[in-house]
């Protein structure tokens, strides 16, 4: 469970989030929508512990994220899966190595790496392309590789910011299907997107942000801006 309680956050150039109150139950699939700069990315940055709120509490599975010390944050992040808009794949590593990287740096055993990496690659449909380098993949495949890296350590929560930003419609929906599959396995999925078609097609909970506030929170939402 994720709880935002009275969260406020401002940067030097202005208020970004004010009075955010949200509860996300385990296994939900939530889409954050809103114009650029309304605070979607800031919500994600708070969630991964990269920023701390000015006030309020952020509780993720019983853990007070805003109170985590710097040395605890890495261990907290291992419980999350994060996918970025720009993929952030390592160009000198193959698909397999990119996906395994999460496990390597968090100290998993080689046995576990051999077991989990093919599973994750299979889940995103990249089986057979393990030895390719990122530049040998299409944009959609790169995105899938990034998802595989985010889920390989089997986090309960998956966060994806502007996931389908650069992809065309068919690829975008393929990516969404993968996320739905991950969601069906019982994981919480939080995404932010600009893609109207996707939001309308998903039929999942939609949170609309405006000026750093939650403008709408609909259980089965549509893209309405």
């Amino acid at each position: 469970m994720i709880e935002f309680k009275q969260i406020n956050k401002s940067y030097s150039d202005g208020l970004v989030l004010s009075d955010i109150n949200l509860t996300v139950n385990d296994g939900e699939f939530i889409t954050f929508v809103g114009r650029s700069g309304v605070g979607k990315t800031t919500i994600f940055r708070l969630l991964i512990g990269e920023e701390k709120p000015d006030s309020g509490e952020l509780i993720v599975n019983g853990c007070n994220v805003e109170k985590l010390t710097k040395s605890r944050i890495p261990y907290y992040r291992r419980k999350l899966g994060v996918v970025f808009q720009d993929f952030k794949l390592l160009s000198r590593k193959t698909v397999y190595e990119n996906v395994a990287f999460t496990l390597v740096v968090s100290g998993a055993s080689n046995k576990k790496i051999k077991e989990l990496v093919p599973q994750a690659i299979g889940l995103v449909g990249l089986s057979g392309k393990e030895n390719r380098f990122p530049h040998e993949l299409s944009g959609g495949e790169q995105q899938r590789c990034a998802i595989a890296r985010a889920i390989v350590h089997q986090p309960k929560i998956l966060i994806a910011d502007e996931l389908t930003g650069d992809l065309d419609a068919i690829y975008s929906w393929e990516i969404m299907e993968i996320l739905l599959r991950i969601n069906k396995l019982g994981n919480t999925v939080l995404i932010a997107t600009h893609d109207r078609d996707i939001v309308n097609r998903l039929n999942k909970r939609v949170i609309t942000m405006e000026n750093g506030k939650v403008a709408k929170d609909q259980a089965v939402g549509r893209y309405m801006i």
Partner: protein, 304 residues
């Protein structure tokens, strides 16, 4: 834990190999630094050796009057031997001295004939006195200047090498100062160069580092590979420096022995005795400089 340790070491090696030319240049500068410091140590060892050798050659020779009896000489000898500052007193009778002289100049008939032309033995009974310490010769001089010995002692010569010693040690101390100056400058250069190299490694890996952070690598896991990279420069440089140094030592020690006419001491054995220390100093200093430069670069460019 052990697994992570193994992995960070592997990452450190990868950092090193990835930028092999820059690593090579950095290692080379580290070699220069370690090499100059080793030379400084060796200079120190040689310097001590040379001064010690000159000191060994210093002695006071007492020449007795012609008619002095053996008993009188024995008395002086035992008095000198009882002095705490005296290391050794060696008696040479005039007959022995003559024999030695003759054998020494046996191939020179002119000198031999001039000796025989003189009536009797022109040489004197002598005592050669060696002090335990360079500063004690003055006490021996004062002792011999005593009125009691004046009638029997014809003269005594103080083979004063003090001036040479002063010259040698002042030359050595200048050389040492220059050596220390050069070494310090090299140390600063090596830290700057290594700092820059590691900064470049951090820069070229910023994507990797940001991903490491986001997927939950600990700070130690991110930082240690750079520390290891720094240590590797020190390790390789000390090995290379030793490989260059050893042949130089082998070549120079006989020359040093010969040039300074070292007696009882051997430059090679002194160096061999200290070789492990020299290698250890290089290794530890190299690793220390590597770690320090990495730590500065990490502190400055790896915001964690």
């Amino acid at each position: 834990m052990l697994r992570s340790l193994f992995r960070v070491i592997k990452f450190g090696f990868m950092n090193f190999w990835r930028n092999i030319w820059m690593s090579f240049a950095t290692t080379l500068i580290m070699v220069l630094t370690l090499f100059s410091i080793s030379l400084l140590i060796i200079l120190n060892l040689y310097g001590d050796l040379i001064i010690e050798n000159i000191k060994n050659k210093i002695d006071v020779t007492v020449f007795f009057q012609q008619d002095v009896s053996k008993a009188q000489i024995d008395e002086v000898q035992s008095a000198l031997s009882n002095m705490t500052d005296v290391d050794e007193v060696k008696y040479t009778s005039k007959d022995e001295a003559l024999k030695e002289f003759q054998s020494k100049h046996g191939d020179n008939p002119l000198i031999l004939s001039s000796i025989t032309e003189l009536e009797g033995n022109p040489l004197r009974d002598t005592l050669v006195i060696r002090a335990k310490n360079l500063d004690k010769y003055n006490d021996i001089k004062i002792f011999l200047d005593n009125e009691k010995y004046q009638p029997i002692v014809e003269k005594f010569t103080f083979d004063d090498n003090k001036e040479i010693i002063n010259k040698v040690s002042s030359t050595l101390s200048i050389a040492k100062k220059i050596g220390i100056g050069v070494s310090v400058i090299f140390c600063i250069i090596v830290v700057l160069v290594m700092f820059n190299t590691i900064r470049m490694t951090i820069y070229t890996q910023k994507d990797e580092i940001s991903i490491m952070r986001l997927v939950g690598a600990t700070n130690a896991f991110i930082e240690i590979p750079f520390i290891i990279e720094g240590m590797l420069y020190g390790l390789f440089a000390s090995v290379i420096s030793t490989l260059i140094l050893y042949p130089i030592i082998l070549y120079t020690t006989p020359k040093i022995n010969e040039f300074f006419q070292l007696v009882n001491v051997d430059a090679a054995s002194v160096i061999n005795k200290n070789l492990l220390i020299i290698i250890a100093v290089q290794l530890l200093l190299g690793i220390f400089l590597g770690v320090v430069s990495s730590a500065i670069a990490i502190r400055k460019y790896l915001k964690v």
